[in-house]
Every structure is written in structure tokens, then in C-alpha cells.
């Protein structure tokens, strides 16, 4: 009943052949699935970027009026700017200054803008049409005019060429973000205003110009066209300063201690597990914690980047600790043994030999942690950073918003036609910041990378 050797060989070969084709088939399927997954991911990213860029890029250019404004002495009928006299106290001088500024605030600056537009249009504008005329210019421009004058009162009587932002409605109309065929009642601009827009465009007074206001101004509600990111940017900057100065030293030193010095026992195991757990806690929980501890108990101010930074520090710490520990662990033990072998103390071993080699990994981990914190929104909503703030914060204690929160606020603005684009523009700015942070992380890793 025994088979010949040749027969057995044949049988084995057949079995192998059968299983081989099956294995090949499996491998091919897996490869194709992988490729499909990558392509799907790439397509989705491409769609996301295309939609954000196509919406947001036009918002970097804004309808702007190039006009001549005369600082008419008949309109600006106020005392000369006070100068500090000898022997006058700072307080008295400030008092006089405030009075003068208040007086300057009462000047009808809008009428100067009206006059300059009237000139540009080349026609008399009747008083009843003033509303239509004023609908063309961003309402914040009158304060810009006032500030220009109070800084340089010698402008009195002069005629200056100025760039003024057109109102948000005009921007929407010029860019075609609203259906032009809709009946009058459904359009924000009146027929008269629209006719004037055409005239101004024809004369090249109204044209698209790069929107510096997007970067230089703070958020605005009364003058939508001049809403900008300056306040949110500074707020984010202060928060990141707090996050970096707290979470990096704290995170790196606790990682070094846990990895290099701490005894391995149940307590350190427990700590390690909990650090990993902490990394998985949803960010909004940190927001709730921050609201009750930092604001409720420690009585820190509401809406302050300091509190935001503290909350985000809590969120970033586990990320940095885990990244640092992984990076320390990847340093071969031979380095430590060699250092100890020639008589270095443990502290010397760590700080002179291990840490420099682990630095690229630590930096990458920290930067990615900070980048994540930069884009975080949810916890900030709970500590009042979603407020409308029209000041640029001067310190981490001043009220402020942050870039991602500003995006959230703008996407909720009522004037959808204008703010859809503005929101996407803000997203582009934030993404740009993130990408440069990530690029920095890659560059640092490449620069300090050691091979052995």
C-alpha cells in the first residue's frame, strides 16, 4: 500500500502549488485593499483642501475703495491736540488728552467719507440717499479716519489718498457670492447702492486689494468687512507660550525620571497606565476641569489665554511624556553602560549622553503636542474664550479668543455670504501655522538625528 518515492514527491508538489496560488491571491488582494485605502484617504484630503482653498483664497482679497479724503477744517472743528506743559502732572495731562480724544470722537467723520465718495462718484448725493451711500463703506472706517487724525493732527486741511474697505455687502456683491438675479427685496444692497458700486468699479475706485485687515484687525461685529484675526492670533500665541513653557519642561523631566531613575514597581506601573489613560481623555473634559479649578477655585480671570494655556498644558502633558519616554527607550543601553563604565554618575549619563541622543524624538513629540494644542477648540469654549473680543490682548491675562475658536465664531456669523469665505481664509491661516510647526519638527529631527 506504500507509494513510491516519486509519487509522494508528486503529491507534495501538488499541495504546495495549490497553496501557493492561494497565498499569492491573498497577497494581491491585500495589496489592492491597501492601495484603495491610501487612494481614498488622499482623495478625501484633496477634496477637503480643494473646498477650503477654493472658498478661502478669494477672501484674502477684499473689495477696497481708493479715494481722496479731505480733512475738512469746517468739519473737524476742535481744539489743537494738547501738549504736555512744564510742571503739569501726568494725571492732569492724561485728563486733558482724554477730553480731547472724546471731542475728536464727536466729530462727524462719516461726513468726510461721504464727501470723498461723492467726489469719486462725480454726482450730488441727496440726504435721503445717504443711507445707500454709507452702505458702501465698512462702518469701522470712520474710526480709522479719526485715529489717523488724532495721531497726526497736522493732517487738518490736507487731502490724502486713502484705502478704505468696502462694506461686507459690497464685497459679496462684487465677488458674485450672491445671486445677482434675485429680486430687490432679497438682496442686501439697495438698487441705488448697486448702481453706485458699478460706477465706482468702472472708475477703478473700487477694486480688489490684498486684505491686510484680515491680519491686522481684531474681530468686528459692527464693521463686518474689517473683521480680522489679529486678536485671535495673539491669543493663540500667548496660549502656546504658556503651553510650551509649562508642558515641555514638566513633561520631559517627568519622562526622564520615570524612564531613567524611578524604580520599577507597582506604583510606577500605575502611574504609567494612568498617563496613557490621560492621553485618551477627550479634550472637553480638560475644559470642564479648567473651568471648575482654574476659574472657579483659583479665581483666575475668564477668557484669559493663561487659563487656556493651563488647560491645554494638561492636555499636552501626556503626549509629551509618552513621546519622550519612547524616544529615551530607543537609545541603546550600550550608551548608558559605556558611560557608567567609565565612571559617569547616573545623572551625568542621562544628561550628557542619553538626552542629547534622544533630543530629536523629544522635540518632534513636543512640537506635535503643541501643534495639537494649537488646533484645540472644545476646552476653550468652556473657559469663556469664545467671547467676542475686540482688543488685541497685551498679556496672557487679558481677555482673548484663539484661532480655532475664531473659526468657530465666524462660521456662526449671520452674514453667511461673507463669512463662509472669511472662515475658510481663517482655516487656511491656521493650517498654514500647523504645517509650518510640523515642518519645523521634521527639520529639527533631521538636523539632530544621529545614526549609529
Amino acid at each position: 500500500m506504500s507509494l513510491t518515492i516519486e509519487q509522494r514527491r508528486q503529491h507534495r508538489l501538488e499541495t504546495i502549488e495549490k497553496s501557493l496560488s492561494k497565498r499569492h491571491r491573498k497577497e494581491n488582494t491585500f495589496r489592492r485593499l491597501g492601495l484603495v485605502a491610501v487612494l481614498t484617504g488622499l482623495t478625501l484630503v484633496a477634496i477637503l483642501f480643494a473646498s477650503i482653498l477654493s472658498k478661502g483664497v478669494p477672501a484674502f482679497w477684499q473689495a477696497t475703495l481708493y479715494t481722496e479724503v479731505t480733512f475738512d477744517p469746517d468739519v473737524i472743528d476742535i481744539a489743537p491736540k494738547p501738549e504736555r506743559q512744564e510742571g503739569e502732572t501726568q494725571y492732569a495731562y492724561d485728563e486733558r488728552m482724554t477730553q480731547w480724544l472724546t471731542q475728536a470722537g464727536l466729530v462727524n467723520w462719516q461726513s468726510l467719507i461721504d464727501a470723498s465718495l461723492e467726489q469719486a462718484l462725480g454726482e450730488e448725493v441727496e440726504p435721503r440717499q445717504l443711507r445707500d451711500l454709507r452702505a458702501l463703506v465698512a462702518s469701522g472706517e470712520r474710526y480709522a479716519l479719526r485715529d489717523r487724525f488724532t495721531e497726526d493732527p497736522s493732517l487738518l486741511g490736507e487731502t490724502v489718498s486713502l484705502k478704505m474697505l468696502a462694506s461686507a455687502d459690497v464685497d459679496v456683491w462684487v465677488k458674485g457670492n450672491i445671486d445677482r438675479d434675485l429680486p430687490d427685496a432679497r438682496l442686501q444692497l439697495s438698487p441705488q447702492s448697486r448702481a453706485w458700486v458699478d460706477v465706482l468699479q468702472e472708475q477703478d475706485v473700487l477694486r480688489q486689494s490684498f486684505s491686510t485687515s484680515l491680519f491686522m484687525n481684531t474681530d468686528s461685529r459692527s464693521s463686518l468687512a474689517s473683521a480680522g484675526l489679529a486678536g485671535a492670533f495673539m491669543g493663540s500665541l500667548f496660549m502656546m507660550m504658556v503651553v510650551i513653557s509649562l508642558s515641555v519642561p514638566l513633561g520631559v523631566s517627568s519622562a526622564i525620571y520615570l524612564e531613567e531613575f524611578a524604580p520599577k514597581n507597582r506604583l510606577t506601573d500605575l502611574i504609567e497606565i494612568n498617563i496613557n489613560n490621560l492621553a485618551a481623555v477627550p479634550s472637553i473634559v480638560f475644559g470642564l476641569l479648567g473651568a471648575s479649578i482654574f476659574i472657579g477655585y483659583l479665581r483666575l480671570p475668564l477668557s484669559a489665554p493663561l487659563v487656556g494655556g493651563l488647560v491645554l498644558t494638561l492636555m499636552t502633558l501626556p503626549t509629551i511624556i509618552i513621546a519622550t519616554r519612547a524616544s529615551l527607550r530607543s537609545i541603546p543601553p550600550s550608551i548608558r553602560q559605556a558611560a557608567l563604565g567609565i565612571g559617569a554618575s547616573r545623572v551625568q549619563t542621562v544628561f550628557h549622553h542619553v538626552l542629547p541622543l534622544a533630543l530629536p524624538g523629544i522635540l518632534t513629540g513636543s512640537i506635535l503636542g503643541v501643534a495639537q494644542a494649537l488646533g484645540e477648540t472644545a476646552p476653550l469654549l468652556l473657559i469663556g474664550m469664545n467671547a467676542f473680543v475686540a482688543n488685541v490682548p497685551g498679556s496672557p491675562m487679558d481677555q482673548s479668543t484663539a484661532l480655532p475658536v475664531q473659526i468657530y465664531l465666524w462660521q456662526g456669523n449671520e452674514l453667511r455670504n461673507f463669512f463662509e469665505a472669511r472662515t475658510s481664509a481663517a482655516i487656511i491661516v491656521l493650517l498654514g501655522l500647523m504645517l509650518s510647526l510640523n515642518a519645523l519638527a521634521i527639520w529639527l529631527r533631521k538636523k539632530f538625528e544621529t545614526r549609529w
Binding site: 474710526y143 445671486d179 442686501q188 513653557s245 509649562l246 477668557s303 544628561f351 475686540a390 455670504n417
Partner: protein, 338 residues
């Protein structure tokens, strides 16, 4: 690694110092929170206030809804509590009590105008001529049929009344965290409820749970997005929001009256509500500009006829009513806990 040590200690000292100094520092910016209906206009006032008074900072205006704002307001007295709560409804007795428990006793109420609630559908969809009765019948949990209450049988608007378009009922309404919800219930549901004798007074607010009523906890932008997703839905908006998005929305008439500044101001359009803000009296002498802000808010130039208040789509109070509010504030009349 001396550098690391140094930066570490510097950072820790800086952070500690920052924390301590903030506690000692006095806040000089007015802090406001509350109703998202009031927020756009309050922000405009804040900005204009900051621009007009060079000696004061521009107040900071947060959202959080009427209830959220009043809850923050009642958290206590001190620099890290808000100074003003915006509300699209009057303060409740329970809130006055909780304020009192935390030491907030001088609650100064200021009414500054009205807001209209409108029903709107997408511009490319059917238009609606509604009455409170129709809306109630579309939204109620139970309705009488052949003498007994059954689960709401209507699925199409045209089932309710022949004048309504023949399309599925989907109604997008604000969730209960909104001040708007209260007006919707009082002025629309209850008014409609009264026309259906069989439904008990207590059951007027019970809404059907079969997915035809969509509650939105976010702001009106979310309601608008919902209308893009469910194109034949009817949404509840503030008049101001509708006004800014007339190129996308068409408004429904209520009892044959189209909502506008005029019809709401005259009371012809039935669904409107007063808007308030509450000032913390204890903060008046502590936070600079608080009294000036309130007076600026009630100024004719800010909230009278032809003012930014109208531009923001809200309805101004008449001269006498505004003066009355101003006098009430100046005499520091507080809301009393009964």
C-alpha cells in the same frame, strides 16, 4: 545640560508669577455673556462703546444662551464673574434666588428692545402661510380624532389645511437651551393649543417624537444648515438672521401678517419677545465703564429708531419706554426676590 535646567526654572517661576499677579490685578474690561440672540447687537454696542470712550476698553461679549449667561451671572461677586448677562427672556424667580445665595443681590434689569421669531423655508421651496393653529397641529404629540386623543396623525402639511403646500412636515425648532424656545412655546404652541379644546393646558408643550420635529441646540446657522440637508423643512429663525439671509430664505406669514420691523413694532405680528440685559449692581463701582456702557446702550443713537439696533434686525422700544428703562437704571432699581 545647564540650559535645560535654567529654562525650566525660569518657566516655572514665570508661570507662578503670572498666576499670582493675575489674582492681584484688577479687571478693567467689562465682561458680558448670555443670549446668542442678543450677542450680535451687544457686540456692536460694545465695539461702538470702545470706539466712543477712549478711556474704556471694549467690553468682551460671550455667548452661552440666556440660561447659561444668567447661571454665570449668578455665580457670585468678584472679578472672575461676569458683569452683565444678556437674556432673551426675563430672569426667573429661581435664578434670582440662586443669585441671592451667591451674594448677587443688586440685579439691575434693563429692557432694550424686541426680537421677532419667524418661520422660514428655503427660497426654492414652497412658501407657507401659517397660523399658530397650523403649527400646533404640525408639532403636537397628541391630537383629538373622533373624540379621543391619538398620536399626531398628520404627516403632510396639506392634511392640516388645504391652503398649505402638499409636502412632508419637518419643523426645525430651537432646543430648550434657547430663549427663543420659550417664545415659540408661549406665542405659537399655546396660542394654537387654545384652538384645540381637547388638549389639556399642560400638554400644550408636548411635541411629537417621530422625528418630524428637529431640535437645534446650536445657533441659527445650524438651523440653516439643517434646511440645506432637509430641503423641505420649515425652520424657526430670528428676524435679524432671516434679514441677513434673504437670498436663501423666504419667510412664512403668521395669521396673514408678514414679519418686519414695522409689523413687529406695532404688535401686528404676534410672535415677538422683549430682550434684556442684567447688570450686576455690586460691580458698578468696581469695573470701570459699567454704568456708562448701560447708558450708552439705552442712548437714542444706539437703540432708538434708525439706530444700529434696527440695522441688526431688532425692534426698538419707543422713546418713552426707553426713558423709563434709563430712569429705572439710574435710580438703581433692583429685581426683588419674592
Amino acid at each position: 545640560m545647564n540650559v535645560t535646567k535654567k529654562t525650566l526654572s525660569v518657566a516655572v517661576v514665570a508661570a507662578l508669577g503670572a498666576g499670582v499677579s493675575s489674582v492681584a490685578m484688577a479687571r478693567d474690561t467689562i465682561q458680558i455673556a448670555g443670549s446668542s440672540t442678543v450677542l450680535p447687537f451687544a457686540s456692536i454696542v460694545a465695539e461702538e462703546f470702545g470706539n466712543t470712550y477712549s478711556q474704556f476698553n471694549t467690553p468682551v461679549v460671550g455667548s452661552g444662551g440666556s440660561s447659561g449667561g444668567l447661571r454665570q451671572f449668578c455665580q457670585g461677586v468678584g472679578e472672575n464673574t461676569i458683569d452683565i448677562a444678556n437674556a432673551s427672556r426675563p430672569i426667573r424667580q429661581s435664578e434670582v434666588e440662586s443669585c441671592g445665595e451667591n451674594g448677587v443681590n443688586d440685579i439691575l434689569e434693563v429692557k432694550f428692545g424686541y426680537d421677532g421669531i419667524v418661520f422660514a423655508s428655503r427660497l426654492d421651496q414652497n412658501s407657507f402661510e401659517l397660523t399658530p393653529e397650523f403649527v400646533f397641529k404640525a408639532a403636537a404629540a397628541q391630537l383629538p380624532q373622533d373624540g379621543e386623543l391619538v398620536d399626531n396623525p398628520y404627516t403632510n402639511w396639506s392634511d392640516i389645511d388645504d391652503s398649505l403646500p402638499d409636502q412632508e412636515i419637518t419643523l426645525v425648532i430651537p432646543a430648550s437651551n434657547h430663549g427663543t424656545r420659550e417664545v415659540f412655546e408661549e406665542r405659537v404652541l399655546h396660542a394654537g393649543c387654545d384652538t384645540v379644546a381637547e388638549v389639556e393646558e399642560d400638554a400644550c408643550n408636548n411635541l411629537r417624537g417621530d422625528g418630524r420635529i428637529v431640535e437645534i441646540a446650536g445657533d441659527y446657522t445650524e438651523t440653516l444648515a439643517r434646511l440645506d440637508a432637509q430641503q423641505n423643512a420649515v425652520g424657526v429663525f430670528g428676524l435679524s438672521f432671516y434679514d441677513q439671509n434673504r437670498d436663501r430664505l423666504q419667510v412664512a406669514t403668521m395669521d396673514g401678517v408678514e414679519p418686519s420691523l414695522e409689523t413687529i413694532g406695532s404688535g401686528e405680528y404676534p410672535v415677538s419677545r422683549p430682550l434684556f440685559f442684567y447688570v450686576k449692581g455690586e460691580h458698578l463701582d468696581v469695573i470701570p465703564g459699567l454704568a456708562e456702557y448701560t447708558e450708552f446702550f439705552l442712548n437714542d443713537m444706539t437703540s432708538g429708531y434708525g439706530s444700529p439696533l434696527e440695522d441688526a434686525g431688532l425692534i426698538p422700544m419707543d422713546e418713552g419706554e426707553r426713558q423709563e428703562q434709563l430712569e429705572q437704571f439710574e435710580s438703581r432699581t433692583v429685581v426683588s426676590a419674592e
